[in-house]
């Protein structure tokens, strides 16, 4: 655990509350002293069913601190909040962090939590930089304090379609049908909506044979997988979480279903825990996700620092976007020269970071607070690691498609 992060305790909040009441000018003093470290409240699900991912995001944030220091940015102090995999608790955690003095918020991975926190940020007037959350409505509410450095569902789907075309071209195999298995939560529903809306515009060679939704808390996905198998589709487009990805894979093995491949448009399939749990059976799914650009120097520095601080932990989407969120905060603070909310917001609006770590021309926000220029990569699992296979220019390994059957893996 990095020394500059700390859990916010109730006693601290009570103390902060009474101190603030007694010393009314405190916020103003904090705003003027810009040599003081910026207090950033980092909100992720570090307990509950998304715990693994929340912890990965936190590691990404912590890995940013030494790199930012080296680059000459002002210091940042991380205050951790646990959104505990529930929007109610996410909102309460955000309130607590703000009461304890957070000057900016970063979070929250899960779209539902992020929406709840965005409301708090907007109501309390504290800038909120979203590291990961794809639901389009987050930046459609007209909020002035919310900024998102992550592609929206539409961009993810568009990027996935493009990568799929490259996939078919490179491998020489083109499917006629695709079945969609998606989790029935904020993210899954957003992606499904985007799939339907964008399909006519992209001229894909296949048609969707079915959209099969399942409960995020489902313990048994045999019916869903059976239904998907029965469609006869050659490829599966999966929109899942970590646990469902594992369940789906197991069911596919048990039901002896060997499509050409699973193409995921979201988390779960490239996660460390997925590969650890399934071993050889976890190889070869392809995930079309926003990722770091292996050619960019900052990305390389991030990977090196992360490996040094957290040996054995992989670097993936969660890492790079959490890392960049801290970069955005530090950059805004440096240019604003003050921690006053409005000054930070104005600085955020004019963010223009060319040397980023993610795929794309850089970080800047449009009028709605959205960064629409981010790109996707296709990563494939090989022996416990996810490697970039497309676009070919950035690929780290050769694509394998169609993937080997279950029985052909020792």
């Amino acid at each position: 655990m990095s020394t500059s992060s700390r859990q916010v305790t109730r006693r601290q909040i009570l103390a902060a509350g009474s101190a603030a009441a007694l010393a009314g000018a405190a916020p103003l003093r904090r705003a003027l002293a810009q040599t003081a470290p910026l207090k950033v409240g980092v909100l992720h699900p570090t307990s509950g069913y998304l715990a693994q991912i929340g912890q990965a995001c936190n590691r990404g944030c912590e890995a940013a601190l030494p790199v930012l220091k080296e680059m000459g940015y002002p210091a940042i102090e991380i205050m951790n909040g646990d959104t505990e995999s529930s929007p109610d608790i996410a909102r309460a955690a955000a309130e607590r962090l703000i009461n304890a003095g957070a000057q900016m918020l970063v979070g929250a991975f899960e779209s539902g939590h992020t929406l709840a926190i965005a409301q708090v940020a907007e109501q309390r007037g504290i800038p909120f930089v979203i590291n990961i959350a794809a639901a389009p409505q987050i930046t459609e509410q007209g909020y002035k304090f919310v900024f998102r450095n992550f592609p929206r569902a539409g961009a993810i789907v568009g990027g996935t379609f493009d990568l799929q075309k490259q996939l078919f071209a490179t491998s020489g195999k083109t499917p006629t049908q695709c079945v969609v298995l998606h989790v029935n939560d904020t993210y899954g529903t957003a992606i499904k909506g985007a799939l339907n809306a964008l399909f006519p515009k992209y001229n894909m060679p296949y048609k969707f044979s079915d959209f099969i939704a399942y409960d995020p808390k489902a313990r048994d996905l045999s019916v869903e997988v059976a239904k998907a198998k029965a469609t006869g589709a050659e490829i599966v487009l999966a929109v899942s979480r970590l646990n469902d990805a594992i369940l789906i894979t197991r069911e596919m093995v048990k039901q002896r279903w060997e499509p050409w491949g699973v193409i995921a448009a979201g988390p779960g399939w490239y996660e460390n825990q997925y590969m650890k749990t399934l071993g050889k059976l976890g190889d070869y799914p392809i995930s079309c996700v926003p990722w770091f650009d292996p050619r960019k120097p900052l990305a390389q520095k991030m990977v090196d620092t992360h490996l040094k601080m957290f040996p054995g932990q992989t670097v993936d989407t969660n890492t790079v976007y959490s890392f960049e969120a801290m970069l955005i905060c530090a950059d805004a603070y440096k240019r604003a020269k003050s921690a006053a909310p409005q000054a930070l917001v104005d600085a955020l609006k004019t963010t223009n970071i060319k040397d980023s770590a993610s795929i794309g021309p850089g970080i800047s926000f449009d009028a709605k607070g959205q960064n629409d220029s981010l790109g996707l990569a296709a990563v494939q699992n090989f022996g416990g690691e996810a490697k970039v296979v497309l676009p070919l220019a950035s690929s780290e390994r050769n694509l394998v498609f169609p993937v080997p059957g279950w029985r052909n893996r020792a």
Binding site: A51, Y214, D220, K227, A230, R250
Partner: protein
């Protein structure tokens, strides 16, 4: 959709349903005899699952093989709980009884959370990915074992109730409590015994379920509800009814998933429960409710 798929899923549903039925058996025994509504049912099953998990990790024992041990542990737990705590509150109003068991349930879930953490954990069985192929049917080996295990345990329980003296005594208590007292049965002891038997049954179901599903502390609530649905549909006081109810739920979930939307599976079960409660509250095979 291919006939194959339907047949496979129905077969799967039957086998899973047998496990649900076994879980409901425990509830049926406790409710039928002691007239206690065990709202901590799912939580006790989760304890059993964790015990089986630990045994697997330390000794490498297949969950099926750990049934006797885990059942014994939970039998003692149930016996002690009934004799020590619940017995004192035998005449409290329904809602207090409910509150008591709900509080116990909270304690159990949190205890599991403290000890095992929130992540879903599973037993990686060596035959986890094997399946049997019988003509067009492709069934999971694990599911076959699970269904088989459920039938065996249910059989043992039925035999106990039908052919042993204690078993008959317990049935007497369930049928007519006053009469049982009149003929001199030690009702207190029999109540505790029944509660213990019920929890032992839940334990067996838990061990078997661990083969099919990953365990985590929050699994409990939905299984409590599921057990109630099965018991009411199958009929209180009938062991075959519980199994039948389980199979019915298992199959209907599979069919609902295939025909409509898989995410509407549970809605179907609750709809079924409402219909049964309204039109045949004693369930399919139960006796008329007083």
């Amino acid at each position: 959709m291919l006939l194959d798929t339907y047949v496979n899923q129905i077969a799967s549903g039957i086998l899973t349903g047998l496990v649900y039925g076994l879980a409901a058996l425990g509830l049926s025994v406790i409710f039928g005899v002691c007239k206690i509504v065990n709202f901590a049912h799912g939580e006790m099953m989760v304890i059993a699952m964790y015990l089986a998990l630990v045994i697997f990790r330390w000794f490498g024992l297949d969950p099926l093989a750990s049934i006797p041990l885990v059942a014994a542990v939970l039998f003692l737990f149930g016996y002690a709980l009934q004799a020590g705590v619940i017995n004192r509150l035998i005449d409290v109003p329904d809602h207090m009884q409910f509150l008591l068991l709900a509080a116990i349930a909270i304690m159990i879930v949190s205890g599991c959370l403290m000890i095992f953490g929130p992540d879903a954990q599973n037993v990686p069985l060596s035959y986890a990915y094997d399946s049997y192929e019988i003509g067009p049917i492709l069934v999971d080996k694990v599911r076959v074992f699970a269904g088989g295990g459920a039938i065996v345990v249910a059989g043992i329980l039925t035999a106990f109730f039908r052919w042993t003296r204690t078993g008959k005594a317990i049935r007497a208590c369930a049928d007519n409590l006053t009469g049982a007292r009149v003929v001199g049965l030690n009702v207190q002891r029999l109540f505790a015994l029944s509660f213990g038997l019920g929890t032992a049954c839940i334990a067996a179901a838990g061990c078997i379920l661990l083969m099919l599903v990953d365990v985590h502390p929050y699994l409990a609530t939905e299984y409590t509800l599921l057990a109630f649905v099965v018991v009411i549909i199958g009929g209180l006081g009938s062991l075959t009814g519980a199994l039948l109810g389980g199979v019915l739920i298992g199959v209907s979930e599979a069919l609902a998933g295939l025909l409509i939307d898989p995410s509407l599976k549970s809605m179907f079960s609750f709809g079924l429960l409402i219909l049964v409660l309204l039109f045949r509250p004693q369930g399919l095979l139960g006796k008329r409710v007083q």
